[in-house]
């Protein structure tokens, strides 16, 4: 899909520059691109959310200052001044903030004295995210984040905090629609009015669904829902260590606070000592009870906090994008364009594998914070996840080739070796207990190493490449073969002895690369050669030709094969 191809105007010449200055809309050239919208402001209600947001960051320092300062008038006055300052800032932001969707750019202006003006070319918009915290939703507001590639490898963001929820949705559609028009991915409807022009409501004027990638905004285009979280899936929180330990993290925080309060309140160490000495059993039973309650409550906490974060997880397709939305209080929706999705990752831990559960993540170009934002599904049953992949993405249909037997030895040495060596060292220097613990850990390394070996594999199904590795956090990545932007083999002396190498696939998306660990060197070269013959073939030779045939210090002359194809 060529993405700069503009529908050429009848009068236009082929040399027409792809970009055009903002005001010349009426020239007949850009008939389909709707005229610039009027200049908009944030919602007046943002005067409430902005100070509250700032306050959240300062509430602890202010509180501490108040307590430590014994509420003396100076500190009190300072806090009041800070509060007034925040409110004033909110007011000021509201009064000076303007944004406008133009024909070519989204323009955001702010400030009175030191003015800032950010212009985001619509063509470079990568995604529009809408989030709203609980407070935002109570007020019917939402935060719009516009992400754009700013040329080079920098990314830029424009944040509108906050507009009304309907305006946010309208803006999202308008921006994506205009971008699609600029890129020539859709043809405009006959009437330019197909797009709702003003901030009032988003769902007016249904536009005819149009050509290539999806519908025009307004109508919403065809929406396909791929997944809605079934209630039983909230229980998968029990498989997530991160959510299980939440209560302990909370407990640690509470303990810290209690400690602080105790020392602040002047409870002396003697008093504590007295308590421990005279009421030993009370203290003991008390702590046992607290711990037991915590252990019992652990799963409950886990499910609740998981539920809050993933409430009503929904995945659907709209206008050539995948949209994932979730959250109970803070509802966040992430829009991933199909154009930028290069593949997906399946992640699981041993615990999740035992229950047949897996997590799904998208591999997307130019997306920061992939861990949370590229999440396509919550932890869920493998077969259901596979069905979603089947419908929403293109699944990998090939088979993973296991890695050579020699890789098993290496995995085992890696898993067992360090602990075994430390255990021996501990024993030799006379710490039998430590040595025992380390020996036990070394023993645990055996199943770990075996499992790591079993998870190793790579495969190609004709269109997609898949690489898998890891045990405690097993990861299977699937990317389209056209997403591969380089190959690298690395080989340590030990690997050379057993004919293995790590093959690294460079991908301009997601984590940047995926590695097939301890693959057979020759086999992996063939593998790469099958996937991108034009990249690998020129450098292949028959297996037993000598390697270091004459390799001249390259002479100064310009002959040689390079640079041939220039111009």
């Amino acid at each position: 899909m060529s993405d700069r191809e503009e529908p050429e105007p009848a009068s236009g010449t082929a040399e027409d520059p792809p970009y055009r200055c903002e005001p010349d809309v009426g020239s007949g050239a850009r008939e389909q691109v709707p005229a610039p919208e009027s200049v908009n402001r944030l919602s007046p209600r943002s005067m409430v959310t902005a100070p509250v947001k700032t306050l959240k960051g300062f509430i602890v320092p202010i509180g501490v200052a108040l307590v430590l300062g014994n509420f003396n008038p100076w500190v009190l006055g300072g806090a009041a001044a800070a509060l007034i300052g925040m409110i004033a800032t909110g007011l000021f932001t509201y009064l000076t903030f303007r944004y406008q969707v133009g024909t070519q750019h989204l323009e955001i202006r702010q400030g009175l004295i030191s003015r800032s003006r950010r212009t985001i070319p619509l063509e470079r918009v990568r995604g529009v995210d809408i989030t709203s915290t609980l407070l935002h939703r109570l007020l019917g507001l939402a935060v719009v984040k516009v992400e754009a590639a700013a040329g080079g490898d920098r990314d830029e963001e424009g944040t509108l905090d906050a507009v009304t929820a309907t305006e946010a949705e309208r803006l999202r559609r308008a921006l994506l629609y205009r971008r699609a028009l600029l890129r020539g991915e859709v043809t405009a409807p006959e009437r330019p009015e197909g797009e709702p022009r003003h901030a009032t409501e988003g769902e007016s004027a249904p536009a005819p669904a149009s050509a290539v990638t999806g519908g025009a905004p307004g109508s919403g285009g065809p929406e396909t829902v791929y997944f809605v979280m079934p209630p039983s899936w909230y229980l998968y929180a029990l498989l997530s260590i991160a959510y299980l330990v939440t209560p302990f993290a909370a407990l640690a925080a509470v303990m810290g606070l209690v400690g602080q309060v105790v020392s602040e309140a002047g409870v002396t160490e003697e008093a504590l000592e007295w308590l421990v000495v005279h009421e030993t059993s009370l203290v003991l039973w008390g702590s046992v009870a607290i711990l037991a309650t915590l252990l019992l409550l652990m799963p409950v906490f886990a499910v609740v906090s998981y539920g809050v974060a993933h409430w009503g997880f929904t995945l659907w397709r709209r206008d050539g994008s995948l949209v994932a939305e979730r959250g109970l209080f803070t509802r966040r929706s992430v829009t991933l364009e199909y154009r930028r999705i290069r593949g997906y990752e399946l992640l699981d831990s041993p615990l999740e594998r035992m229950r047949g559960a897996v997590r799904l993540r998208a591999v997307v170009t130019g997306l920061g914070d992939t861990a949370t934002r590229a999440m396509l599904l919550p932890i869920g049953a493998r077969d259901r996840v596979a069905r979603v992949i089947e419908r929403a993405l293109e699944p990998f249909r090939g088979r993973l080739v296991p890695h050579p037997r020699a890789a098993l030895g290496r995995r085992l040495i890696r898993a067992v070796g360090p602990f075994a060596a430390l255990a021996v060292l501990g024993w030799a220097s006379g710490f039998p207990v430590v040595a025992g613990v380390l020996a036990f850990l070394a023993l645990l390394g055996v199943p770990l190493g075996v499992d790591r070996y079993r998870s190793l594999g790579h495969g190609f199904d004709g269109r997609r490449v898949s690489v898998r590795s890891g045990s405690l956090r097993r990861e299977q990545a699937v990317v389209g073969s056209d997403a591969i932007i380089g190959w690298a083999w690395s080989q340590s002396p030990f690997q050379r002895r057993s004919g293995l190498a790590n093959l690294e696939l460079a991908v301009g998306a997601g984590g940047g690369s995926y590695t097939a660990i301890d693959a057979g060197f020759q086999e992996s070269v063939d593998f790469a050669g099958t996937i991108t013959p034009e990249m690998v073939r020129p450098f292949l030779v028959a297996p037993h030709t000598p390697d270091d045939e004459p390799a001249p210090d390259r002479s100064r002359s310009t002959e040689g094969e390079n640079g041939r194809g220039s111009r």
Partner: protein, 171 residues
């Protein structure tokens, strides 16, 4: 199992060996000096919690390191020179780097985003340069060290032209 990667066609400049030797020697001397100073400090302070057997043998540390550094200074640059190879065809930048561990890397020219040559003070003294080829992925970025400076500049210019012709960085 019928094929394997051949080595890239060209070696880097012969002067790279001298540069690497000098660079390793300088850093080795510095690290040895720092280690020696640390050990001297510990020995002369003679804290009671440092066991005696350790104090007596503390001098071994810088001495052993110096021995290792000497071997490395002599061996590594020459070895590296044998391993380091590069080749730029019209479509692919192919490099082999490393010494004990080796890395073979293929970067398609069509996916390259930037090409730059850099020259540190040491490199300048030896009329050498480093050529860096970057793609959208850090893993797909290739570095050729120890190129003759003129050669590096010429290659980077050719590559830049070529990228303008065929570029599509897959982001």
């Amino acid at each position: 199992m019928t094929t394997r990667l051949r080595a890239p066609q060209y070696r880097v400049s012969r002067r790279a060996v001298s540069m690497w030797t000098l660079g390793t020697a300088v850093s080795s001397v510095m690290v040895t000096a720092v280690l020696g100073a640390l050990v001297w400090g510990v020995v002369s302070a003679a804290w009671s919690w440092v066991p005696d057997w350790l104090l007596e043998r503390a001098w071994w540390i810088p001495v052993i390191y110096a021995g290792y550094a000497l071997v490395k200074t002599v061996v590594a640059p020459r070895w590296r020179y044998r391993v380091h190879r590069w080749e730029v065809t019209s479509d692919v930048v192919y490099t082999r780097t490393g010494w004990l561990s080796r890395t073979w890397q293929l970067v398609p020219v069509s996916r390259v985003q930037t090409v730059d040559t850099t020259q540190g003070w040491l490199e300048r003294a030896f009329r050498l340069a480093t050529l860096r080829v970057r793609t959208a992925s850090y893993a797909g970025s290739s570095t050729i060290e120890g190129l003759d400076a003129d050669e590096a500049r010429r290659v980077s210019e050719e590559l830049a032209v070529r990228i303008g012709d065929v570029g599509d960085d897959a982001t």
